[in-house]
């Protein structure tokens, strides 16, 4: 559940989600669930010309299983807190 909690902290920040089919979408993280499904708002596709069908998509739901990377804002991660949380999780809660 660590990454679920972690992503919940990032809600409201701008992220880029790269999918396994190479489509990369930038948008405001609206919400995330336990499968790491992601909802984005105010989305735009990084390579718009290659994906014309995405032009009028403003909000979207991305299935967690197709995500390759999530690129975070530079200030989106506090290493110390993540480090502690990881150790807590490894000890079993």
């Amino acid at each position: 559940m660590l990454f679920f909690s972690y992503f919940k902290e990032l809600v409201g920040k701008e992220v880029t989600v790269e999918l396994k089919n190479d489509l990369a979408i930038r948008g405001i993280l609206h919400s995330v669930d336990q499968y790491l499904n992601i909802k984005l708002e105010n989305t735009r596709v990084v390579d718009q010309d290659k994906y014309p069908h995405m032009l009028s998509v403003r909000n979207c739901f991305i299935r967690g299983s197709v995500v390759r990377y999530v690129q975070l804002p530079p200030d989106g991660v506090d290493i110390d807190i993540l480090h502690d949380a990881t150790r807590r999780e490894a000890r079993g809660g």
């Binding site: 069908h53 995405m54 009028s56």
Partner: protein, 128 residues
């Protein structure tokens, strides 16, 4: 439903806030389906009413009507809400008939096949 319950629907990651809206569903094989979301579950299985497949080849496109579709969740890549204010496609794209889009699709497939077979024959050159 109470007011906070309604808020939950819009704050959650579930597809509930997309119900009865016109959506674009991207599938794992690259297909693009358009339709109105009538039902869904936790796997992103979805029922689309008035579904059609949007086939795009270069600057040509065609919406092929399909009817009522049940999509198995594992095939879903992305479900996008269409902004009705905005044009769905860039202005330079041309709508063509089903026959024409099938022809264009076949031409494109043949071209990629040819490229693939040429590459295979040239493999001894080892150009990677």
């Amino acid at each position: 439903m109470s007011c906070s319950g309604l808020d939950d629907v819009f704050l959650s990651t579930s597809l509930a806030s997309y119900l009865d809206k016109k959506l674009l569903v991207l599938l794992r094989d690259g297909r693009k389906l358009l339709g109105i979301l009538r039902s869904f579950d936790q796997f992103a299985n979805a029922v689309l009413e008035g579904a059609c497949e949007r086939v795009i080849v270069g600057d040509l496109y065609c919406d092929i009507p399909l009817g009522l579709y049940v999509i198995r969740g594992e095939n879903v890549v992305l479900i996008g809400e269409l902004d009705l204010e905005k044009e769905e496609l860039p202005a330079h794209m041309i709508s063509v008939s089903v026959a024409e889009i099938k022809k264009a699709q076949k031409a494109e497939r043949d071209a990629t096949d040819l490229k693939g077979s040429m590459r295979k024959r040239m493999e001894f050159l080892d150009f990677d």
